[in-house]
Every structure is written in C-alpha cells, then in structure tokens.
C-alpha cells in the first residue's frame, strides 16, 4: 500500500516532467505483414512506462525501432524533443529480449567490454552490487542460469548510467523467485531517477512496476494511461467470480461475463451485497465465490481478447 502511494506520488510529480521519449506514428511493414501500424506514445521522464500486448502485437518491433536497431518504414522517434541520434545512443541502456553474449568470456570481461563503449560509465563495483553479480564475476557467460544471465544483461544495459532504459520482456522464462528479485532490481533503478520503458506480457509485472502503460494490439496502441486511470475508466465496481459448475439457475437476469475456458463466471457490480443476494438462489455453494478488484489482466483481456476479437 505504502509502495503504491509512493508510486502514485512520484507519478503525479512526473506529470510535470518533460517527455523523455516520443514515438510518432511508427510504421513497420514486412512483406505481407504490418508489424507496427501507426504506433504513437510519449514517455515522461522518470517514470516506468509499460508497453503491453499479446505475443505478436508488435511490441518488440516498436521498441527496436525506437532503439535504432530496426529501421521503421516511416515515423519519428524523439529523445528529449530531438530526433534520436548520437546522444540517445550514449544515454540509453538496452536489454534485448534475446541477446547472445560471447562464449568463453567471463561476466567481469563482458561488463568491462560494454562499459568501455560509453563515455558515461557506471562505477563497476556499484554495478556489480546493484545487480548482485559479485560471486559470478569470473564465471563464463555460458555457465549462467536464466536469472543470472538476465542480471548480467541488465548490468550491461546499465554500464553507461543510462537516463532511459529499455527492458524487453526481461523476466520471460524466469522462475517466480527470480522474477520478484528482478522486479526489486528494476524498482531500485527507477528510484534512482532513470526512465524505464518495459515491454511485457505479464500483467502482474506491469501492475507492480509501471506508472503508466500503453496496451498494444495488431501493431497499434489501443489504450494509454496510468494503470489506475485505465482501470477506473474501464470498470465501475468490483468483480464477483464463481465457478460455472456451481450455477444451478438462469444467470441471464444478471449482467455477467463468462470465461468459458476456465469455467469461471465473472460479474462486475457496484453493489456487492445486492448481487450476492441475487446470486444466492442460483448457486449451490457461496463459499466458492471470490470478490476482487479488477486488475490489468482483466483490462488486457477485455481490450485485446474480447473487445477487438469478439
């Protein structure tokens, strides 16, 4: 709760900050495919901005256009109001979704090599401590676990004390513990004042880390705002969940959504007491009912799964 309030306070502060990044009508066509179809958004300085979307939505292509490693068919990327160029390369830190590192090179050598490529250099010892790589310094890159490798790639992204950091699905493939450790790391970086652009398809990750999100589908941004704001816009009230198997009566008189695959029925309501009263004669066991706040998972499914593809 305290963390959320602090994040909201920081977000309100950041609203007065300049735009660190602006993507203007980015388009990327491959033969027969419009991977990015007019994506536009801004990222204010100092926030953690989440670019969310299902697999194949165009997140990685959009981010790689911004990073300058993929050429856009058209569109502009502005960094602090100027076309992203030399300054951007010097001040941005990037963690790609998939990056191969050189074989037979140690963690220490890898970090040192990348540090050398920048004028602005992070203190080596601070970097090692921040990314918890102290015990791995002399280990061959090939012998790192998934979590250790992600920490190394993050350290590589931080070697230049970046003002803007790109994290492209950084926790994909990590176990739950490693994911949470990585979140702590990202929060500590954000607390240091860096702007973060995070792409992920984990909604819990976005909810924990992001001050502002943009939801992307079919190459377009379909919603942008703070998670709280977007949820407030989309949902009025709470969600009651009950197993389909427990339903014995006709639910048509109650407005509800049904997740067929999961066997769960969801009822959005502003008056929980009244909804429960209506449900009582229609279900076999009220003990299986769950009442919760709508979250980004709901928003994401509604926007990308239901609204667009219904």
């Amino acid at each position: 709760m305290v963390a959320m309030l602090a994040r909201q306070a920081a977000f309100r502060y950041s609203c007065a900050m300049p735009d660190a990044l602006e993507a203007r009508n980015l388009i990327k066509h491959y033969p027969g495919v419009r991977a990015v179809d007019g994506a536009s958004f801004t990222v204010r300085e100092g926030i953690c901005f989440g670019l969310l979307g299902p697999n194949g939505a165009g997140k990685t292509t959009t981010v790689e256009i911004i990073e300058g490693v993929t050429a856009a068919t058209s569109g502009d990327v502005l960094y602090y109001g100027e076309i992203a160029g030399k300054r951007f390369r010097e001040e941005a830190g990037i963690q790609f979704q998939n990056t191969a590192l050189q074989d037979y090179i140690t963690v220490r050598e890898t970090i040192e090599m990348f540090r050398t490529l920048y004028k602005r250099q992070a203190n080596f010892d601070d970097l090692i401590e921040q990314c918890s790589l102290g015990e791995l310094l002399d280990r061959d890159n090939r012998k790192l676990s998934g979590g250790q490798r992600q920490r190394l790639l993050l350290a590589v992204a931080l070697v230049n004390r970046p003002k803007l950091i790109f994290l492209d699905e950084p926790t994909t493939g990590l176990d739950p513990q490693a994911r949470r450790n990585f979140w702590d790391l990202v929060q500590s970086i954000r607390a240091g004042g860096s702007t973060i652009l995070l792409t992920t398809h984990y909604m819990d990750e976005a909810q924990v880390l992001c001050d502002e999100i943009a939801i992307m589908d079919s190459g377009r941004i379909i919603k942008q705002g703070s998670p709280e704001e977007l949820l407030r816009q989309q949902y009025d009230g709470l969600i009651i969940e009950l197993p389909l198997a427990d339903v014995t009566g006709d639910l048509d008189q109650i407005v509800h959504t049904r997740h067929e695959n999961l066997g769960i029925i969801e009822i959005t309501t502003t008056d929980v007491a009244r909804s429960l009263q209506e449900l009582t004669p229609l279900v076999t066991d009220l003990n299986h009912i769950k009442i919760r706040q709508p979250d980004l998972e709901d928003l994401f499914l509604d926007l990308t799964g239901h609204t667009l593809r219904a």
């Binding site: 490693v69 050429a71 390369r89 941005a92 990037i94 790609f96 990056t99 191969a100 590192l101 990348f114």
Partner: protein, 340 residues
C-alpha cells in the same frame, strides 16, 4: 525415439533445402572446381620440366626435335637469370636455347637433369650447330623449403577468412551484433577491431609455426626477416579484408561457409600452395594473380628461397595493399549490423 529423430531429420532437411542460396553454392562449387582443375592441370602428367630460352611465349616445336618429346613440360623463359636460378635450385631439370649458338644448361647434381640431358642428346644435333653444354651448380630447394611458405600462407588464409568472415556472420545471426549496434560503437570501429584482432592473432600463430618448422627442419631463409614479416602483415590485412566483404551482409552461416569455400579452394589450388603454376595455361596464371594468396606466396618464396629484397617484392606488396583498400572499402560500404 525414431519419430523424434525423423522429425529433427525432416526439419533439418527442409531448413537446408529452403535456403536456396546455400543450396546453390553447395551444388555449384564442386562442379566449378572440377571443371577449373581439369582445365588447369589436365595435362599435368609430365615427368620433366625443361626451360626454353626464347623471347616468344609460344614454343616453336619445329626448331628442334627435342621440343616434341612427350612427357616433358616445356616452359618458355625470356630472362636467363631467372631460368638459370631455377636450374641451380633443381626447379628446372634443364634449360635449352636453340638460337644461332645452341646451348643447354644442366645441374650435375640433379638426377632428373641427367636423364633430361640424355633425352636431349638422343634427339639429335640442331641444324645451326653443336649443342654447347654448360653446368650450373646449386643445391636443390627441398620440398619443405618450397612448401613452408605455402603452408603458412594457407593457414593464414583459412584463419583470416573464417576467423573473421564466419564469426561476424555468427555474431549477426545470434544477435550479438544487434547488441553492439545499440551502443555508440560505429561500424568502422567494429570492423577495425575485427581486423586488428585477427591480424595480431594470425601473426602470432604464423610466427610460432615458422619458428617451429625452421628450427626442426632447418628450412632455407635467404632474405630479410623484416621483409618477410612485412609481407605477412600486408597479406593478413588483405585476407581479413576479403573475409569482411563476404561477411558484410550474410546472415546464414551456411551461405557464408559456401562463399568462403568458393574463395578458399580456388585460391588454395591456384596460388601455388602445393605446386607451382609454371607450365599452367596463361589464363590460369592470370587468374591466380587476382588472389591475395598468390602475391603472398610469391613474395614470401622469393624472400625465403631467393633472398629477394624489399624492392624486389614491392610489386606484390603494392598489389596486396590495393586489394586491401578495395576490399575494406566494399566491406565498410555494404556492412550491416543486422536485418535492417
């Protein structure tokens, strides 16, 4: 288990067959080599090599019956010093001149020279008078002496071409180049680093091999070590640059391997790594001159076997420098970090 094996087998077959560029190289290269080698060395069954001192390139077989002898490879020379040097080193079994004063030169220490001389004398006296015999002294250039520059050059060629060309393609394919692209590193800096790294490594390796063989086999070294080292540096730069051209855009390791082999094999066979091109058709010798390895080997052999000076090998060094400049310019121009 078998179904898994079959699935992998099928997937691999599809991957290979659908990569049409790689497939084409795999089919064309062996055929092209077969045709090329047949043309170049199809008549290389001669038992003896005899030099004919004359100005014209074409040998007039009517000037003496000896010149019609089967299984002797007759090579025209217009420079007597070059030809005599080869007789002294047993690289020519005999040197003949059928002019106004017909004469021949033979090395009395050469067994093949002895038999070539008998054959010459049995062919009869020339119309213009008796043949005058002259003897040339000199130790034979051992096969190890002759081969060492070839081995060093071949090793340099493989190391430079694959060590740069193949590795850059692998970096591009596995995303490491993309990661570097996201830093302030420029393509020139990346290429320069690759060239420098490979040159230092190959010079260390070549020096090590040279010292080892020189000490163990007592190979001949008539010229200056400085000149030889300079040839190695300039040669390595040209080969690395050629590797960069191949790897500048390719994203498939198999295609890169095919392209590199397309360069490697003709260069290895036509540059004189294993055998001399003397006696090969003129067109083959001209083609050989487009390969950096030919200039590296010719100049290295000249220094090691004949004591050539820096001035003597300057034309080869200039040719290598020009090739390097062209290759580097093309490589830098067409270089791509990834699939941009």
């Amino acid at each position: 288990m078998w179904s898994r094996i079959y699935a992998i087998f099928q997937a691999r077959n599809r991957e290979f067959l659908r990569d049409r560029a790689s497939l084409s190289w795999n089919l064309i290269l062996p055929v092209a080599l077969m045709f090329g080698l047949s043309f170049a060395f199809g008549n290389d069954r001669d038992a003896y090599t005899v030099g004919v001192l004359q100005q014209a390139e074409e040998i007039d077989t009517s000037s003496h019956p000896f010149l019609e002898t089967r299984f002797i490879n007759f090579v025209a020379y217009d420079d007597i010093d070059t030809a005599l040097n080869k007789v002294s080193r047993h690289q020519l079994d005999l040197l003949v001149e059928f002019g106004d004063e017909p004469r021949y030169w033979v090395n009395p220490e050469s067994p093949k020279g002895y038999f070539a001389e008998i054959t010459l004398l049995q062919a009869g006296a020339p119309a213009s008078g008796n043949l005058e015999k002259q003897q040339i002294q000199g130790q034979a250039v051992g096969y190890a002496d002759w081969l060492l520059p070839g081995i060093l050059g071949m090793n340099m060629m493989f190391s430079c071409l694959f060590g740069v060309g193949y590795v850059v393609v692998r970096y591009r394919k596995n995303g490491f180049l993309k990661r570097l692209r996201a830093t302030p590193l420029t393509s020139f800096e990346f290429i320069a680093a690759q060239v420098a790294s490979r040159i230092v490594l190959i010079l260390m390796i070549t020096t090590f091999i040279y010292i080892g063989t020189h000490v163990l086999l007592g190979t001949r070294m008539e010229g200056s070590y400085f000149t030889l080292f300079l040839i190695a540096i300039v040669g390595a730069i040209s080969l690395v640059s050629l590797g960069l051209v191949v790897s500048a855009r390719v994203t498939s390791e198999e295609l890169a391997g095919g392209l590199l082999n397309l360069i490697n094999w003709p260069m290895m066979l036509l540059s004189g790594v294993w055998f001399s091109l003397e006696g090969a058709p003129e067109i083959i010798r001209s083609i050989a001159n487009i390969f950096p390895l030919t200039h590296i080997l010719n100049s290295a052999r000249a220094v090691m076997l004949d004591g050539a000076t820096l001035g003597d090998v300057a034309p080869s060094l200039i040719a290598l420098t020009v090739m390097s400049a062209i290759f580097l310019a093309i490589g830098a121009r067409i270089f791509r970090w990834g699939a941009l």
